[in-house]
Symmetry: none
Subunit: 141 residues, 2 copies
DNA sequence: TTGCGTGCAAAGGTTTTGCATGGCA
DNA sequence: TGCCATGCAAAACCTTTGCACGCAA
């Protein structure tokens, strides 16, 4: 855990702006590196990771761990969303590995139910629904 | 994804027995390696990982990812749990590691909803809800 | 005998760290 | 000027893979 940054640097600024321009999109640390390499304003890999960690701590972006052997995903959390404390759920297909992002209000039922009836505070960041996606199910038959 | 093993080997047998002797305990692949190294019946690291993957696929053990930068944890799943299959959900506490079994019909809403609205066939056996349990939440305050 | 399972070593990929340099306040 | 942030390279780490050998059926 790093302390909150004390200096305002160009790297941090353009990183934050980049995430703000991508609401609802999931990207990996490597994606971010590649992007800035392409735009001609490369940022060191280590800096990317350090800033990403910071942004997560500050609640500006969210980190998702889908699978132990896939890179972590990061997503900008809009100000509205941050206030609502909402976030999306994930479905992972066991067959093709596809990751599906669900931003579904009905699923908040699940969170409420677990908290009210089972005294369990669900963490949507960590929770992944495993199953079979539509395409793979159709391909089976 | 590996195919189901066709031969019964000593390595697989003692690995399964080892997990059966540890209900409710979560250990890492490395822990398993170390254990067998100490007992004088070492098993190759690669074999450990290969068998672990198999056992997860067969539903005999479960794999948990608590943190992206910690090794994955494995835990034996008792036969009772396996038999109940569709009707049992699991919650894992991120703090104390406790595994909570939920037998709740209301949660079938989740399965139905994902299937009807999102074309996703949930696999309750593989899916684990991560969050904070009652005790840990109370201990926080 | 056949071919799967094993073990070793090496590779693979993600993330962290050490250290010198650069930049903010 | 004093520190913090950055960037490079290398390390650390967990996990997978290639390949030859051993063993189950």
């Amino acid at each position: 855990m790093n302390a909150r940054p004390k200096y305002k640097t160009k790297q941090k600024e353009i990183l934050t702006e980049y995430f703000e321009s991508l609401p609802g999109v999931h990207i990996t640390a490597n994606d971010v590196c590649e992007y800035f390499k392409k735009t001609g304003t490369p940022i060191g890999q280590a800096t990317i990771y350090r800033r990403l960690e910071n942004l997560v701590e500050e609640g500006i972006i969210r980190k998702y761990i889908i699978d132990s052997n896939s890179p972590a995903c990061f997503e900008y959390v809009g100000k509205e969303i941050r206030v609502e404390n909402g976030s999306c759920f994930h479905c992972k297909c066991e067959k093709c590995g596809k990751l599906i992002h669900l931003r579904c209000d009905e699923l908040m039922f699940l969170k409420d139910h677990l908290e009210a009836e089972h005294d369990f505070r669900l963490d949507p960041l960590r929770t992944v629904f495993y199953g079979i996606c539509d395409e793979c199910r159709n391909a089976e038959n």
